[in-house]
Amino acid sequence: MAVVKLFGAWFSPYAYRVIWALKLKGIPYEYIEEDLRNKSPLLLQYNPIHKKVPVLVHDGKPICESTVILQYIDEIWPQNPLLPADPYDRAATLFWIKFADDKGYLMSKLYQTDGEEQQAAVKEWLEMLEVMEEHALIGGKKFFGGEEINMVDMAFSFVAYWLGVIEDVVGLEIFEPHKFPLVSLWIQNFKSIPVIKENLPDADKMFALLKHGREMMLASKSD
């Protein structure tokens, strides 16, 4: 039987996308935790260009970039599909995955800045949430994938879970549920799915990590 290995980091939303995909499809895998401050020679060998996690290794062959990995997983193991079969629906789904991927930088932009730069980050977050509310969840869908979650739901997981931790770290409330009722409902639905609920990084541990990182950053700024 082919061996599947996943190189990840315990707090990475991108690694979690792959974990959820593999679990949803019932694929056994070996998980290897990477210390991103001290990357293993194996990781650097499998992802020499970006040197990042996640990396999926299937049959000894590495696949990098979470969205590329998820499409690969969906093609090799078609059960519980992550993407629609119809080409048009698939194109629309890929559009939203790209939209979410292109906004991922907003996480670190929010907690690694202060003052004007942070205010700009807050503005960008609100603009993104408005687009999600207005355009992505039309039709009163339970999930972006319809009745079941798909790759778009996984791609927006950073809004559903990671944003909350970051808000606590920076002491700002960016997501006001009454302003984004559709997104708010989606978040509740998404987090209640067993495979998601049972596979999320510990919030307190993440808070401590990000808080420490933020304090270091602010201290170095005032030097």
Partner: protein, 219 residues
């Protein structure tokens, strides 16, 4: 029902060129609509309300946005002719990885080469050349990124060839000197009618970039 295909585009767009090439490869008749990006049409705003950007492919009234998504869509719908994506999932994943690298690294670095001056430009130029060398290494001795036949990564990257002269003049360097295999690959692609008729001339692109620089106040 007759197929109705419209492409909302802007002639120097690297992204628009990809869709033009894919449509031409498949022999699809379509209506090309040139957009004035300082005065976007109501159709564009309606078809791409989220980004308001070109290219937008409209197939029987329904929009597909983002160039690489359009290329994949075209490949899937008109699958009988000139396949662009490989059938093997691992090769497909490799192709998608490189297309992503082209968009994330090569495009941004190239933009910085023509948009900046002095030290910033020197750094951008160095990194841009490094990124080209990396992708040249991926090409290796294959005739195309797809192997024996022209494919997805070739479609994703060949539009940049129309901008090479502009990058070279702005950055004062020769891409051929740095990456001869890449230039050989580009010339091979340009022999294909689908590519030759989809790319604007290099001088025309350079003149456009000079106008943009003036407009942006970069001298």
């Amino acid at each position: 029902m007759a197929e109705e295909v419209v492409l909302l585009d802007f002639w120097p767009s690297l992204f628009g060129m990809r869709s033009r090439i894919a449509l031409a490869e498949k022999g699809i008749k379509y209506e090309y609509k040139e957009e004035d990006l300082r005065n976007k049409s109501a159709l564009l705003l309606q078809m791409n309300p989220v980004h308001k950007k070109i290219p937008v492919l409209i197939h029987n009234g329904k929009p597909v946005c983002e160039s690489l998504i359009q290329v994949q869509y075209i490949d899937e719908v008109w699958h009988d002719k000139a396949p662009l994506l490989p059938s093997d999932p691992y090769q497909k994943a490799t192709g998608r990885f490189w297309a992503d690298y082209i968009d994330k690294k090569i495009y941004d670095l190239g933009s910085r080469v023509w948009k900046t001056m002095g030290e910033e430009q020197a750094t951008a130029k160095k990194e841009f050349i490094e990124s080209l060398k990396l992708i040249e290494k991926e090409l290796g001795d294959k005739p195309y990124f797809g192997g024996e036949s022209f494919g997805y990564v070739d479609v994703a990257f060949i539009p940049f060839y129309s901008w090479f002269y502009a990058y070279e003049k702005c950055g004062n360097f020769s891409i051929e000197a740095e990456c001869p295999k890449l230039i050989a690959w580009a010339k091979r692609c340009m022999q294909k009618e689908s590519v030759a008729k989809s790319l604007p001339g290099q001088q025309k692109v350079y003149d456009f970039i000079l106008q943009m620089k003036k407009h942006l106040g970069i001298e």
